[in-house]
């Protein structure tokens, strides 16, 4: 673990600011006879928002789970800053600076905002929870959201969908993460809340985090991302710079109407 962290520090100098922070090379994964991923190769640029699009079942979520330590590729490799990595657990991926905001909002409803922000990273003092410090730090983390700030002592159950997503993103952005993976972060949100979460995603990028965004919303992809990868039936069929493509082309690539 510590060896891995040492490796990650060196190559990400400012000299290659837009170089890939994360790379998948020919990653394949099958569940029984179902070939969920077949020779998928994608890169995630440092300081960029990279979008991953595709129809339901195209393998997007499976691919990001290979990055976040939930799945292990059966062949191919995942490189972090050019060095091959293999995460056995989500915890290992987090340790390497890869945080995931889950589609199903991985928050505990009956715990407070600050308890969720510090879940499994609780600060302790003499073996006891340092509630005061965690509350204060949570307040700091949340106040950077600027919009619709939830009370850190309120239970997540009482928050709106947008506030919950903000808390999830906040948790992912904190703790010095380098890459934040978001699986449809605005799927369950209204128009205004979506706009706020998008602001938050842009802010993450501006603060230097790389973002890997799964989205079904093409307008959102065109608005936010710098790079788009298109997946279809377990393969990565195309990659485009966002400013060199159109929403129409992306749709065509997803459906197969346009051959990559």
């Amino acid at each position: 673990m510590s060896a891995l962290e040492k490796k990650t520090v060196t190559p990400s100098g400012s000299a290659r600011a837009a170089g890939p922070i994360l790379e998948a090379r020919d990653v394949s994964l099958s569940f029984g006879s179902v070939r969920a991923l077949q020779d998928v190769s994608v890169t995630v640029g440092a300081g960029e928002i990279t979008a991953l699009v595709g129809d339901n079942g195209a393998g997007k979520s499976t691919l990001v789970r290979c990055f976040s330590g939930v799945h292990k590729p059966q062949s191919g490799e995942v490189l972090l800053d050019g060095a091959p990595v293999s995460f056995g657990t989500p915890e290992a991926a987090r340790g390497a600076g890869i945080e995931t905001v889950h589609q199903n909002l991985a928050l505990v409803e009956d715990l407070t905002v600050w308890q969720n922000l510090f879940l499994n990273r609780e600060l302790t003092r003499f073996g006891m929870l340092d509630r005061r410090r965690m509350r204060a730090e949570a307040q700091k983390m949340v106040s950077t959201l600027a919009v619709n700030v939830p009370e850190v002592t309120s239970r997540v159950r009482r928050l709106s969908g947008g506030q919950r997503q903000a808390v999830s993103i906040c948790r992912a952005a904190g703790f010095s993460s380098r890459l934040v993976i978001m699986d449809e972060p605005t799927a369950a949100l209204g128009v205004q809340e979506t706009a706020r979460v998008e602001e938050l995603i842009l802010r993450l990028r501006d603060e230097g985090h790389a973002v890997l965004l799964i989205s079904h919303n093409f307008d959102q992809v065109m608005r936010l991302s710098q790079q788009v990868w298109v997946m279809r039936a377990g393969r990565c069929v195309a990659g485009r710079r966002t400013d060199a493509t159109t929403g129409q082309e992306i749709v065509g690539l997803i459906t197969g109407a346009i051959a990559a």
Partner: protein
């Protein structure tokens, strides 16, 4: 204040629907409007019920609050308080331990057999606690690692532990008469508070600290509240589950010591009322059976309420046969109130 606000879902400061944060300016009014909500009564069902019962029984029979009767009730509640706390840990992870009373009996029998074998009391105590811990660990591993439903695992343990108790004791109780051991259920540091009551209080305080002031406690609540979220943040829900069943077993062993201290003997037949009453106390205490929401104070008051209820009915000369009926009615009524909890 800080504890109640963040640690104890059933705490008084948990804001209810009728008192949104912006109404906190009018302190008295907010407090009053809170009293008017069903949610408040649901949160404090056990304490309110306890006060009402004490008032009613005292009105009907003034000797109910005599120091002798209070001493007796507190001592009688000690084992149930510990078992209710034990059950709370398991229920907080959305599990249930149906074997808790049988494991207690196993502890009682192990204590008795070791005593009959001439072992010093300290060894007998350790034996009882270890027997409970071991049964709890088996429960935990079967639930968490073998992934068998908690209901089935602990139902199996219910049968296995009570069977083992009969096998070990050959169905015979052992009389445990040792001066100091007998005294701990009668004497205590303060009047009306015996040493076994002190033990129950200590267990409750430690349990509260563990649940609300340690990382482990937070992980217990997270495991019950949302196993997916807990796993996603790297919490090993399997390890948490093994731990809560182990804690329940260990506390069952401790309860065994307290029961033997009160009885002066080691009855080998399982006392199933402890199982029903431990679950009842947890429900009365406002702990969610779906996990994730727990309190220690609630189930402690729940255990006291049940003890007072049974004692009061006995003092009033109500037939023993009505006691399970009354417990059933109280528990279902409390569960009904819980529906109005936020």
């Amino acid at each position: 204040m800080s504890t109640a606000a963040t640690g104890t879902p059933a705490g008084p400061s948990a804001p209810s629907k009728a008192s949104p944060p912006d109404s906190s300016g009018g302190g008295g009014q907010a407090a009053f409007s809170r009293l008017a909500t069903v949610g408040f009564w649901a949160d404090w069902a056990a304490l309110v019920g306890l006060i009402v019962l004490v008032a009613v029984f005292t009105a009907l029979d003034p000797s109910f609050l005599s120091s002798g009767n209070v001493t007796g009730m507190l001592s009688a509640s000690a084992a149930l308080v510990i078992l209710a706390v034990a059950q709370t840990f398991v229920v907080a992870t959305a599990g249930i331990d149906l074997s808790i009373a049988s494991v207690t009996t196993l502890g009682i029998v192990v204590l008795g057999q070791l005593y009959a074998g001439g072992q010093p009391l300290a060894v007998c105590f350790v034996g009882a606690v270890l027997a409970g811990l071991l049964a709890g660990l088996v429960n935990g591993f079967l639930v968490a690692k073998a992934k068998i439903t908690d209901f089935v695992v602990t139902l199996g343990m219910l049968s296995a532990a009570s069977g083992l108790a009969l096998v070990l004791s050959d169905g015979q109780p052992v009389t445990v008469t040792e001066g100091f051991f007998f005294d701990i259920s009668l004497d205590g540091p303060v009047e009306m508070v015996s040493w076994i009551v002190v033990a129950a209080i200590v267990v409750a305080v430690i349990a509260h600290v563990v649940l609300f002031h340690t990382r482990f406690g937070t992980h217990v609540l997270a495991t019950g509240g949302s196993p997916e979220a807990a796993t996603a943040t790297g919490i090993s829900t399997a390890r948490v589950k093994v731990a809560v069943y182990a804690i329940a077993g260990l506390l069952a062993g401790l309860a065994a010591i307290i029961i033997v201290a009160r009885l002066g003997s080691t009855p080998p037949a399982a006392n199933t009322t402890y199982l029903l009453n431990s679950v009842a106390a947890v429900v009365l205490g406002g702990v969610s059976l779906f996990g994730g929401k727990a309190s220690i104070l609630g189930p402690v008051f729940g255990a006291l309420l049940l003890t007072v209820l049974l004692n009061g009915l006995t003092t009033l000369g109500v037939s023993q046969y009505y006691q399970p009926l009354s417990v059933g009615v109280v528990v279902v009524a409390a569960a009904f109130l819980m529906r109005f909890q936020k």
